[in-house]
Symmetry: C2
Subunit: 230 residues, 2 copies
Amino acid sequence: MSDQQQTPHDIPDVSGRTVAVLGGTGDQGRGLARRFAVAGLDVVIGSRSAQRAQTAAEELGAGDLPIRGLENAAAAAEADIVIVAVPWEGHRELLVSLEEELAGKIVVDCVNPLGFDKQGPFALPVEEGSAAQQAASVLPRSRVVAAFHHVSAVLLLDPEVDAVDLDVLVLGDDRDATDQIRALAAVIPGVRGIFGGRLRNAHQIEAFTANIIAINRRYKSHAGIRITDV
Amino acid sequence: MSDQQQTPHDIPDVSGRTVAVLGGTGDQGRGLARRFAVAGLDVVIGSRSAQRAQTAAEELGAGDLPIRGLENAAAAAEADIVIVAVPWEGHRELLVSLEEELAGKIVVDCVNPLGFDKQGPFALPVEEGSAAQQAASVLPRSRVVAAFHHVSAVLLLDPEVDAVDLDVLVLGDDRDATDQIRALAAVIPGVRGIFGGRLRNAHQIEAFTANIIAINRRYKSHAGIRITDV
């Protein structure tokens, strides 16, 4: 699709895609699933428990929205685009177990490896450099993208919030894949998907979530970022 | 000053302060020096060569602005607030050599330890975690703050650019020091100084500059960031 682009702002059409959200019963996963479904995309919430996934889908409005719940592997198998929104603990093991189901797909890692102590949040060291690079390492047949790290689950889940004041940074080494995820981000009203660099520069985007948490504590905010002059 | 604060947005008065910019003959240093002097602060450009520092000061308008040039140690000795805008190579050695002159002062590190190869910019590993933490490690008697990493030297130096569309993230463990540097950032029209977390979370702010460079290459921009909901 990139050879059809006139400007770096152009995005492809992602309507009609099926998006799975692994770890979709957590706050961030439910928030993204809800917004994608509201935008009309076919959404599958994945969880270790199919029952919990179905319950989450129902609570998010499965009666009115195109959203359903399945066990993680089944959710991954159904989707064109798979969002990984699981806790950092268990991240590698889950992806290893789904290598077959995720082959050939765009896998969007939005996991933030963070620790917390009395002084607040801090970035955890990751052997591969970042959660996204770990995903790329264990999923050689997938097209791994890093995105959606800084979205506020509170805002995504709040039905009173129509538009979210946020740029989603989208990182990856595959131009078509990052363009599709830029388009996926832009289905959320108010959000732009901005290319944010190669996957090897994902660590600081994940770790920046620690700074956002510190900002939220100081300013009692649901902070996000906007990129200026773009 | 923090006990006089009504809100986390309040900032102290920094007018009348003397600000030294070490490495002030580089683009980032000259850009900051110019903006601080335009705002009426007393500015001293520091360089290894007093002559080069004086030349830079003259080129920035020393005849009309309160700006002069001195050798780094003399510049540091004159100032209340010292900006460290030197290249990463030589960062530690310079600070070690100025430990005495910088004692008791607010030292603002804005150095980005980056490497470049055919695939573009990337963050360099730093033994202490970040340039700012390295500064804190070698300057135990100084109050080290991290800030001004993402400012575009091009915009700061452009006399046609009245206001800069940017939030400066200010990190540190000393509330009064970070408040003063938030105020220093805010003397640049358009800029807000936003508390961005403790010094241990400085690495990702420094490394994020690699992403900004990648964004600038893709979008042909002079990108900065804004924090939303703050």
